[in-house]
Structure formats: C-alpha cells, structure tokens
Amino acid sequence: METHFREAFKKTPLRALAAFAAFSFYKMMIAPLLHSLGGVGMGCRYPQSCSEYASLSILEYGVLSGSVRALNRVCSCNPWTAPKPHLMVVQVKESIS
C-alpha cells in the first residue's frame, strides 16, 4: 500500500488523507480490541477487510461515494444478509499496486 498511497497523495492529497484516516482509525484503534473480544475465527466474511475496502474505495471512487460503499458493506456484514456481489473487492490499479 505504501506505493499506492504515495502515488495517491501526489494526485489527490485530501482524498488520500481521508482514506488513510478511515483505514488507520479502524485498524489501529478498534480492530485489536474487537478481535480480542470476538474470539477465534471471527471477522471478515469478505476477502478484503472493511477497513481496507473503505480506504481503497475512497481512493478509487472519492470520499463521498467511497464512504457510502464502505458503509453499505459494513451494514451487509451480518448473518441475515447474503454477501453482496458488488461489494467483494476493490481492485487496485495494477500500475501502482
């Protein structure tokens, strides 16, 4: 991600900053405690974790659209909803990943 974010910071610094904030806030402040409480095997049903998805989709689609996508994904993450096909992965552009 380092190169990915570095590239993004050069192009759209604000967007990249928002993406990085979304990512690091969850990953650093909430995830350790939540996983410690959650127990073995608990966690993501999607191939990408929501924090990663959120940060990458903000980079890809912009702050507003990306946040909505991320929120939609978090809300779909429960036992009563099937995983949504359009929310599986954000593909990172090959040239910078």
Partner: protein, 554 residues
C-alpha cells in the same frame, strides 16, 4: 529506507505519541482537579466568622444567595455535641450551632491508604444559618448546655430568647441505617419577607481519589441535572420544587430529601481553597435556601429534611424511597452495566469472590460463542484455500476499467458461493460482545458492589487499577500473541495493502498502555478471554491439521 529502520521509527513514534499525550493532555487535565481555581471575586478573601457572613440589610433572595456563596469562609472550630448512631456501622456528628460534622462509615475503608481508615463523608460543616440576625443569634446559642434530650440515638437542642425560640433535632431513622432526619423549628421570630434560612454546606465534594469522578446531581421540578468535572467550578442557582439533591463521588454520597411542607431553592458554587481542604479535593459550597417568612396566620414553622449519608447502593436506596435510585449513576451505558452487574452478582452467590465470578462469566461467554467460533474458523481456512484462485481472477481482469471490475467482483462472488464460505460470519457476532465489555467497564467503574472487591494476591480491589501493572502487561503480551497466530485479526498480504505487523504490534502496546488505568477486573476479563481464545485457536489448528492429514491419507 529499509524496513527494519522504518519499524524502529514507527515504534519510536508511538512511544513519542504516548509521552506527548501523557504530558500535554493527561497531565493538565489531572492538574486541573488537583488545584482549585482562584476565586474570581475578592469578597471571599476576608476571613470573617461564619456567624456574620449573612448580609444584614434585606435584599432580594437571589442576591442574598449569590452573596452567601461568595462569602463562604474558613470553618470556625466549634465543639462536638454528640455523635449520633445511625445503624450499626454509621455515625454522624452533631456540632454546636445547629450543624452536622463528619459522617463516618465504619464498614468501608479508604482505598489506597496504608492503614484501614474508615470512609468519612464530608458533611463538614452542614449548618443552618439565617440572614435574620435574631434567628442567627438563636442558632448560635445552640450548644452543649442547650441539649434537651441527648442520646446516641436522638439529639434535641432547644434555645429561646426574647425574640423567639429555636429547636434543632437530629434523629436517625429506625428502619434504615445511614438515614437521619434533620429538623429545625423556629417559633415567634419577626422576620422580613426577604429573610432566608439556609442549610448550608461548605466542604469538599466526595472522598474519591479520582476527583474528576465527583459530582453534584439534583432533581428539581421533575428534571434531573448532573454537574461534574470542571462545571463544578461555576456558580449555579436553581429554583423550584426540590425532590432530592445528592453530592459525592461514585461510591458514597450525601443525599438530601426535604420532607416538610417547605420546599427549598438550591444554589451552589465553588469555594476558594481554604485551610483544611486538601489540594486534590474539590471544595464546593451549596445551600438549600428556605424563606424565613412563616405562612400567614402562623408564628411557628419547621424545616425538615432527610439526610442520607452512605453508599450509592440501589437496593438500600430503593428501600428508603424508590425515587432515590435515580441518584445512582452507572455511567453512560447504565442499562448494560446494570445487566452485567446483575449477572456478576448472580455468579457471586456461588463463588463469593468477584474475581472468580468475572473469570466464570468470561468462560460462559466464550462457551456460548464457541459454536460460532468453530464455524467461523473453518470458513477462514476455506478462504485461505481460495486465495490462489482469487489472485488468478484478479489478474484476469483489467482493473482500470470499471465494468471489468464489476465482472471481477461477480466472479469472486460466484467462487465464494460454490465453496460456501462464511455463511454465518461477519462482524456482528464480534460486535455482540462489545456490550459485555462496556457493561463490565461501567459496573466496575461505578458500582459500590465491586468497591474493594478482592481477587487474590496483589489485587485487593478489582475496581481499581492493578497496582503493579501485572495484568495489563500480561494482557498486552497475550494480545500480541493472539495477533501473531490469528489470521483474521492480521489480514495482511492483500494486494495494495502494507504489511501492518509492526504497526499492529505498536497498537497492541498502546492498548496495553491505555489499560493501565482500567479497573483490574476489566483487564482480568480481557486477559482470560484472550487466553481462552488462544487455547481455542490451538485446538482448532490441531484438529484442522488432523483433518488435512486424513484427507491426504485417503
């Protein structure tokens, strides 16, 4: 820059962050409570005896109230009349001049003290005073020689002069310990319409070593107000029908509940630092203010209020008056805290040790979530097996094209569906356990039931932080261990994502640092929960390996 250098920088950065946070955020915040702010008015600096502080000239009641706060002064030493017993372990002092002294709770001890010191609630000095000179004179003359009827169970003091007679009584409630009725009767005084009679307190607020946990709360006209933190330093005046007023810390409180036909107004404000009040305590003055004007056609009138001094225990308060349960504040997530407290108490009837009860609670929670854990783990393994296929799909599509990306997502989804990955998974089961943590935090931080609840060895108080930081260190280590072996928690190695290993480890250390001030019971819960998680992980890994061996053998 190579990666090991960068990792060192990250760790140094986190340590620097902790240091800066401690220095710039925590230290000033704590210092604010260590030191009472300087008075903004100069009127308070004159050390006048309390008997003459009331203004002689009649003023509007509101104006008098402001003056009476500002004019609060250093306590004048007066003699103890008698110590009234209110229940087996509770006693409250009655002092000359219609005042109450220290209230002592012999069955609770000050935390962190080297010796067993009984908790003393500062009703210091809760005294009646009046703006009317002749009433004040009569109140001052209530001393040892005026005791009409005095015993450890009841005190009645009478005094009379040419202008009128006053009577002061303190009588413990026979049914409820820690509850006394304080009554002042005035007879025959000629008073102006603006004259007031006050039950006034000038003392520190609470005895908690965490001064920011002290608060005043009151119910006037059916609305409850709670004032804590820095707001306590501002002056307030409240008028209306008073139901109750309480002040104190999280565990012990003094509650006033007017019982007579007169309902008082209330005002409170902070005091300048006076001799005898330690730096760490919040000196606060407040007064219940009554009109000194009797009802038309009457010369005799009495002010009566119940004073409760004791623990913030809902069951005790409920027995006195169900409304007083509202004075118990279990924090922001009170309902969850109440539920956790209830289950802890239920478990404690079997174990008689709250530490063991917390461990039992943890085991029960872990056992309840075990089937889910097992399923989630197997789907994690399945996901890992799908990883190469995922990569293949990702490479197949051109990511710069949005329509292509959608197609890719569909294919990934189809792959998931055929392999039936994670049908039950998701973060909801994980989030479901968050209220347990929050509830425990609230209960351990606010409930008198867990005050000085011992576990064993060095942990003599589960509601206080670990004095030697053994549990937080153990928890941090277990957290790091857990992160190392739990593939879900790490979730690294995704394309476009950095290797978070070092940052995560730094974050674990940061969490460990934060947990140093958490109640040790909470850290105990987290530690046991994590250790059980580690054991479960080992068990599942072993069984899945066996399964794989069986598959390969077949």
């Amino acid at each position: 820059m190579n990666s090991s250098k960068k990792n060192i920088f990250i760790i140094l950065g986190i340590i620097a962050f902790i240091a800066l946070y401690q220095y710039f955020v925590l230290a000033p915040y704590q210092a604010k409570f260590r030191q009472a702010p300087n008075p903004t008015t100069t009127a308070s600096s004159a050390p006048t005896p309390s008997t003459t502080t009331e203004v002689a000239t009649p003023k509007a009641v509101g104006a008098v109230a402001q003056e009476s706060i500002v004019a609060a002064n250093a306590p004048v030493s007066r003699d103890l009349v008698v110590s009234v017993q209110a229940g087996a372990d509770r006693s409250i002092e009655v002092i000359e001049g219609a005042a109450l002294g220290r209230a002592q709770l012999n069955d609770y001890f000050v935390r962190g003290a080297s010796e067993r010191t009984p908790v003393v609630l500062n009703t210091d000095r809760l005294e009646w005073s009046s703006s009317n000179a002749s009433i004040q004179q009569c109140l001052n003359s209530l001393n040892k020689s005026s005791v009409f009827e005095g015993s450890p169970n009841q005190v009645l003091m009478k005094s009379s002069s040419a202008s009128g007679a006053c009577e002061f009584s303190v009588s413990p409630d026979p049914k409820h310990p820690s509850l006394v009725n304080v009554r002042l009767t005035l007879d025959g005084f000629a008073s102006a319409p603006t004259d007031i009679v006050e039950l006034r307190s000038q003392g520190k607020l609470g005895s908690d070593q965490q001064a920011d946990q002290n608060y005043i709360s009151y119910k006037f006209d059916d609305s409850i107000q709670t004032i804590h933190g820095a707001d306590l330093f501002s002056k307030t005046e409240v008028r209306g029908r008073m139901s109750w007023l309480t002040w104190g810390d999280r565990y012990f409180s003094v509650i006033f509940r007017p019982t007579g036909s007169y309902t008082p107004d209330m005002n409170y404000g902070s005091l300048p630092t006076v001799a005898g009040i330690e730096d760490s305590e919040v000196p606060v003055s407040f007064a219940l203010r009554y009109s000194a004007q009797p009802e038309p056609g009457k010369t005799r009138f009495d002010y009566s209020t119940d004073v409760y001094f004791g623990t913030r225990d809902p069951t005790v308060l409920n027995a006195i008056d169900p409304e007083l349960v509202q004075t118990v504040d279990l924090g922001f997530f009170a309902s969850v805290a109440r539920l956790m407290l209830w289950s802890l108490k239920a478990l404690n009837t079997f174990f008689h040790n709250f530490g063991v009860s917390i461990i039992a609670l943890t085991l029960i929670v872990r056992a309840l979530f075990w089937p889910l854990n097992k399923k989630a783990y197997s789907s994690t393994i399945a996901m890992k097996e799908l990883q190469p296929e995922m990569e293949r799909i990702r490479k197949k599509y051109d990511s710069t094209d949005r329509t292509q990306a959608e197609k890719m997502n569909k294919e990934v989804f189809a792959l998931y569906k055929t392999k039936k990955v994670n049908p039950l998974g998701g973060c909801l089961p994980m989030l479901a356990q968050l209220p347990i943590f929050i509830g425990l935090y609230g209960a351990l931080n606010h409930s008198i039931d867990l005050y000085q609840a011992p576990f064993f060895g060095w942990i003599q108080d589960l509601s206080m932080r670990d004095p030697f930081y053994i549990l937080p260190v153990m928890w941090t280590l277990s957290l790091i261990g857990y992160m190392q072996i739990n593939p879900q928690a790490m979730n690294t190695g995704q394309p476009g994502m950095p290797n978070m290993k070092w940052i995560m480890m730094g974050m674990n250390v940061l969490f460990g640092y934060l947990s140093k001030d958490w109640p040790s019971g909470l850290v105990l819960y987290l530690l046991v929960s994590n250790c059980v998680g580690l054991l479960q992980q080992f068990f599942l890994q072993r069984s899945s390996k066996k399964l794989q061996l069986l598959k390969e053998g077949a």
